[in-house]
Every structure is written in structure tokens, then in C-alpha cells.
């Protein structure tokens, strides 16, 4: 297996982007990444695109072909594949791109992630997101996607004494980080009371425990490490890629409060990189809901099971803490254009490792971890990156 590097990154603004279409957003992100990487474009061997539900959001399938076409590559007949894993679509696309280079099959690939969620009504967007859950045995009976995480949160509070305040603090922290990110959907700090008094969505989660509906795209260019120097000096190495699955329905899990897919995916990644959780300097984790970040830092091995709430209280995961989590603002504040999220996490990590994270820069950032989850934990991808 060859070493793989990220040589270019690109991001659109995340938010309600009314004047930009699906095609416009992905080509914007893609061209920024290609420009950043120093490649011409003709060197691209393949494209991989993460998109959860273009069919329901914009009535369009066959996304791999669409993106290659919109990006101006169809006349070069480049292989282009769309990958879907609900909210993990972006991370899965990164992994497919990574594997194709590591195996020697491709030298240079572009990986993009895109979701255009505001072209349908809020109700339709919610229904589409709920398709990440088990349609026959969860959604059919009235479970909404937030309520599934609500049930995790309720049980976590019951078993470990986690409080609503600790959940709210995750949102406060991530909005504080997001306020320093010019691409984030929400760039305003918020107070704890605001989160606690927000309209209820699914007990114990309120409106501000939930990530928003977002348009946005992200893209990265990956290259085999031995060829990367040809194009750029700003090289970041992907030192691990771990993937795991678990039952689709929350009620089938071994433990309601543990995402085994996160545990297993990160175990594989740590093993590949020959490190442990202690060596991670900072992480982008999948905070689709505040409780998800608490679970993530436990399941990734940063703290013991049940201590996620305590870690928030002890400010461990703040921007200036010992393990900054979601310096980008996370899904909560940066936004969650579903297919783009997994790729956008890589963009933030690369920026940090290059020392280009501006006001959000983590000091001495050397190793970063990206954690992307599908649904309520049926899919998980963990990537670990190292600055060169």
C-alpha cells in the first residue's frame, strides 16, 4: 500500500445559498481545491463524490456523471463515482479515493462532497434526512431523526448523569469556534441560556442541540505521496483510514449509548497509524446533535465511556483546551450539508496541519482526526492525518 497525501482543499460558504445551484456549488469547491493543489486538472485519474440524497433534494440522480460533467471533465471521460452512506457519504468518498491511490490504482483523484438541501421545503428536508434511519422499524412508527439521538441523550443522562447544560455547552463551544470561521453557516457566539430555552425538538434536545439544514460543498485533491512534491509544498499525509458498520436501527445496538461503529473504525485507524487516542492533537467529530459529540469523544477513546459530559465541563475540548474538538464550528455551527460534511472535516484538518487555520489555529497541530458518522451510527469513517 502506498502513502497518500492531500495536496489541495476547497470549500464553499455553508448556509442557505439561494443563488447557487448544486452544480455551481460543487464546481466552486472543486475548482478551489484543484487550484490550491497546483495540478492542472488533466492529471486527475478519477473523481469520487459524496452525496446523500440528490434524488430527493434536487430530483437528480447519476451524480458521479453530473459532477464530472459540470466540472468540465466529461470530454476527458474521467471515471466518476457517487458514494452514499447517509451523513457519512463524504467520509466514505474520501476513503474510496484514498484506497484507490493506496492500492496503486490511481495516482491523483479529486474527492468532493455536496448537498443542496434548501431547494425543497423544510418538511421535505426533514423527511429526507430521516431516511438515514430504519424506515420500516423506526421511521414508520413515528421516530424522527432528532428523536433517535434524543433517545440516546436521554439514556446517557440516565446512565451517566450527563446534563442538558453539558449538552448545551457543546453547542456554545462550537458556535464560538464557528464565529471564527468565515465559511460557517452561523458565525455568532451563543449563550447557554439561549440553547436551553430554544424550542424543543425531541426531548431532551432543543432546536440548538441540532445541526441545521445547509447547502454547501467541499473538495480535496489527493495524490500518492511520492508524486505530491511535484505539485505543491503544502502536503498533508493521510496516515489512516478506518471504516465500520453497525445495525441500522438504534434499538438493535449492543449499547444505546455507544456507537460501536465509531469504536471499531477508530481502533482500525489507530492501529494503521500506529498511535493511540493520546497522540491526537485535535479532531473534527460528527456533532449532528450535541449528544453525538459527547458520544464521539468517548467512543474515539479520548475519555472513558460516560465521561463525555465531564470533559465538556472541564473545557478539555475548547479551542484552547488539551484536545480541541470541532475547531471549524462542527456540524452545529459550520452547518451540515450532508454529503459535504465528511470532506469538509478533512479540509479543516488540512488547514490546521498547514498552519492556515487563522483565528482557529491549534498550536503545534501535528496529528488530526476526522470522524464522520452515517445515521444514528450505522456507518462510521475515521481518518487520521499528519502534517509534514
Amino acid at each position: 500500500m502506498r502513502d497518500v497525501a492531500v495536496i489541495g482543499v476547497g470549500l464553499t460558504k455553508f448556509g442557505e445559498i439561494w443563488d447557487k445551484s448544486f452544480r455551481h456549488l460543487i464546481t466552486e469547491a472543486g475548482s478551489k481545491a484543484i487550484f490550491d493543489s497546483g495540478i492542472e486538472g488533466l492529471e486527475i485519474d478519477a473523481m469520487y463524490v459524496g452525496s446523500m440524497s440528490a434524488g430527493r433534494f434536487i430530483g437528480q440522480e447519476h451524480i458521479g456523471a453530473l459532477v464530472a460533467d459540470a466540472s468540465g471533465f466529461s470530454h476527458l471521460n474521467i471515471p466518476s463515482t457517487r458514494i452514499e452512506g447517509a451523513c457519512a457519504s463524504g467520509g466514505l468518498a474520501v476513503r474510496e479515493g484514498f484506497l484507490s491511490i493506496a492500492s496503486g490504482h490511481n495516482d491523483i483523484v479529486v474527492v468532493g462532497g455536496i448537498e443542496k438541501m434548501n431547494d425543497v421545503s423544510g418538511t421535505a428536508a426533514t423527511e429526507t434526512l430521516a431516511m438515514a434511519a430504519d424506515q420500516e422499524w423506526e421511521a414508520f412508527f413515528g421516530a424522527t431523526f432528532p428523536s433517535i439521538y434524543g433517545m440516546i441523550a436521554n439514556r446517557h443522562m440516565y446512565e451517566y448523569g450527563t446534563t442538558r447544560e453539558q449538552l448545551a455547552q457543546v453547542a456554545v463551544k462550537n458556535h464560538a469556534n464557528g464565529s471564527l470561521n468565515p465559511f460557517a453557516q452561523y458565525q455568532k457566539e451563543i449563550k447557554m441560556e439561549f440553547v436551553l430555552n430554544a424550542p424543543p425538538v425531541a426531548y431532551p434536545l432543543g432546536l440548538f442541540d441540532c445541526s441545521p439544514v445547509t447547502d454547501g460543498a467541499a473538495a480535496i485533491v489527493m495524490c500518492s505521496l511520492d508524486k505530491a512534491k511535484k505539485y505543491t509544498d503544502k502536503i498533508v499525509k493521510i496516515i489512516a483510514s478506518g471504516q465500520a458498520s453497525d445495525s441500522l436501527a438504534l434499538h438493535e445496538r449492543k449499547d444505546i449509548c455507544t456507537l460501536d461503529s465509531t469504536v471499531k473504525a477508530s481502533e482500525k485507524a489507530y492501529k494503521q497509524a500506529n498511535i493511540g487516542p493520546k497522540e491526537i492533537d485535535f479532531a473534527e467529530v460528527h456533532d449532528c446533535f450535541t449528544i453525538a459529540e459527547i458520544l464521539a469523544i468517548e467512543d474515539l477513546g479520548f475519555v472513558k465511556k460516560g465521561d463525555g459530559g465531564k470533559a465538556i465541563d472541564e473545557n478539555i475540548t475548547q479551542l484552547n483546551g488539551s484536545l480541541p474538538v470541532n475547531t471549524s464550528g462542527g456540524l452545529k455551527s459550520k452547518g451540515h450539508p450532508v454529503g459535504a460534511t465528511g470532506v469538509a472535516q478533512i479540509v479543516e484538518i488540512v488547514n490546521q496541519l498547514r498552519g492556515e487555520a487563522d483565528k482557529r489555529q491549534v498550536k503545534d497541530a501535528r496529528i488530526g482526526l476526522a470522524h464522520n458518522v452515517g445515521g444514528s451510527g450505522a456507518t462510521c469513517i475515521v481518518h487520521i492525518l499528519e502534517g509534514m
Binding site: 418538511t123 426533514t126 423527511e127 430521516a130 430504519d134 420500516e136 422499524w137 423506526e138 421511521a139 414508520f140 412508527f141 413515528g142 421516530a143 424522527t144 432528532p146 428523536s147 433517535i148 434524543g150 433517545m151 440516546i152 441523550a153 436521554n154 439514556r155 440516565y158 424550542p199 424543543p200 425538538v201 425531541a202 426531548y203 431532551p204 434536545l205 436501527a249 438504534l250 434499538h251 438493535e252 444505546i256
Partner: protein
């Protein structure tokens, strides 16, 4: 006028009306909905899976209160959704009914109730299935209900 989706619902009627799961006679684990083969015994369980009617009693292991729902549940908001551990072992996701929102608790004993789950609009089919309600407090204290055997 053709109404799509009826076959998808009809297929699951034995599960949704009567909680028919199955059991691996090799390792005695019970599954709901039924599995083609036991995920643990794998090959050994082929031909050894037996249908089992679950009694419909269990305990709430977690719940959430939904204040914002999809369109077809809008007129029920706020409602309780829960994960229930059935006495036979499997977990199930279902609404809790006949229970005040302030009364629902983790650990509460519940039993199945036959309710209308969804409607396919005004002209489509009606989809019935299981919801769960607090274990019958109406039965006289002298009489054993299935719950008490737990």
C-alpha cells in the same frame, strides 16, 4: 387511482399486527423482526429458525418526546417515542400512548396496543400496527397480569 406502497406494508402485517418474530433453535436467541438466519450461529441456523409470537410485554429503556415531526404525524405532536425491551429479549421502537408525557419513565412496564400508525392521505390505505401503553393498571390487583410474571 393507484396507491403505491401497499405491498411494502402488507408484507410486514404479521410483524406489525402480531409481533411475530423468530427464534434460533440452535442458540435460543429471539429476533424481531424475524431473521433469515441467526447472525451468531450463521450456517448452523439454516432450517433451525422457528416463528415465535412475542407476547407484547416489555420495559422502556429510553424515550424521547417529539415536538416536531414529519407531516403524517403532525396531528399527534407532542408524542412519546421509545425503545422497549420486550420480555423475550429483542428491542423495539414504538410510540407510547395512554400515558401523560410527565409520567413516562425509563424502566416503566408497557404492553402492546393495536393502533392506526399512518394513513396514506385521504384516499390511500390505512396502516395499522403496534404502539405500547403502560401495563394495564385497570386489572384488579388480585389478578396476575402477564407483567407480574417478570
Amino acid at each position: 387511482m393507484s396507491s403505491g406502497g401497499v405491498a411494502r406494508f402488507w408484507r410486514e402485517i404479521p410483524q406489525r399486527y402480531n409481533l411475530i418474530g423468530n427464534k434460533c433453535t440452535s442458540c435460543n436467541k429471539t429476533f424481531f423482526p424475524p431473521k433469515e438466519a441467526c447472525p451468531f450461529c450463521r450456517r448452523k441456523s439454516i432450517g433451525k429458525m422457528k416463528d415465535l409470537i412475542l407476547k407484547g410485554y416489555g420495559e422502556i429503556i429510553t424515550y424521547s418526546i417529539i415536538y416536531s415531526s414529519t407531516e403524517n404525524f403532525q396531528n399527534q405532536v407532542p408524542y412519546i417515542i421509545a425503545i422497549i425491551k420486550l420480555d423475550e429479549g429483542p428491542n423495539i421502537t414504538a410510540q407510547i400512548v395512554d400515558c401523560e408525557i410527565s409520567d413516562v419513565k425509563i424502566g416503566m412496564r408497557v404492553e402492546k396496543s393495536f393502533r392506526k400508525i399512518q394513513e396514506d392521505g385521504y384516499t390511500g390505505a390505512l396502516y395499522y400496527g403496534y404502539k405500547f401503553k403502560p401495563c394495564d393498571s385497570l386489572l384488579s390487583e388480585n389478578e396476575k397480569c402477564e407483567c407480574d410474571t417478570k
